[in-house]
Amino acid sequence: MIVLKWLFLTISPCDAAEPWQLGSQDAATPIMQGIIDLHHDIFFFLILILVFVLWILVRALWHFHYKENAIPQRIVHGTTIEILRTIFPSLISMFIAIPSFALLYSMDEVVVDPAITIKAIGHQWYWTYEYSDYNSSDEQSLTFDSYMIPEEDLELGQSRLLEVDNRVVIPAKTHLRIIVTSADVPHSWAVPSSGVKCDAVPGRLNQISILVQREGVYYGQCSEICGTNHAFTPIVVEAVPRKDYGSRVSNQLIPQTGEA
């Protein structure tokens, strides 16, 4: 049983927080992939600098121990070393800045008009999602609340503090616009595997554009302190094949319009 569980973990992507997780969740959008790649670029320089600094530190402590070397040095200037230790960090900073700015500006570029707009409205302590592209009047056609499933109602295999009753269904491989706001206090809509974290501010509409590249279920949690149940306000995004999106949404539409 345990062996089978490990097999499952090796073949399924990490789209939710794992116990003792060290690295990022697997990327589901180009933005997240860019963030992970930038992290790898920076980490390379980080290791270079770390090893260099540690080596110098250990070497200095070893060779200039007061027992081994009783007379302290009195060097105060060294033009060559001063030039080098200015130029090299500037170069390293530049090598880090180039991919960083490239990613930052590409995140803001809207290449293609989005196909769908979904509104995520934060409340204390749940999310409301509105899909209003198909409204023929001001009456909301598809809007639903998304509450965390309490621990006592979880089924075997579900994640504690992460599962919700109604997930946000989106079509994969489609440009989406997500408008994030709040109805009461600030919240934050975050889905790590999609590289999304967007503050939900009352009275303000924040827009994020994403393109989820693979089907799957992606988990996130509210990321701005919003009261006692801030830790119990998760987000679950389910990316379905584009051709199934229509039927999934209409299935949810029918119960709503029945009440409207």
Partner: protein, 78 residues
């Protein structure tokens, strides 16, 4: 199963290139109402603006603005 729903929404507006789209939603709402004032309540041309503001603006905001328009307290250049 075919795509039963045509995937279309408010396009990206170059007047509002930043993350903050509050003004975008407000502007589309005002444009719709100016359009209906100019062309009549049931004009088909104005449906476009209606779709845009409904896509962008939360339902609560639209309801509040509709009430404000009815009471004459809407704070916008209609």
């Amino acid at each position: 199963m075919e795509d039963e729903i045509d995937l279309k929404t408010a396009p990206a507006d170059f007047r509002f290139p930043t993350t903050n789209q509050t003004r975008h939603c407000f502007t589309r709402y005002i444009e719709f109402h100016r359009c209906t004032t100019a062309k009549g309540e049931d004009s088909v041309d104005c449906e476009r603006f209606a779709k845009y503001y409904r896509a962008l603006c939360p339902g609560e905001w639209v309801d509040k603005w509709n009430e404000q328009r009815e009471t004459g307290t809407f704070p916008g250049p209609l």
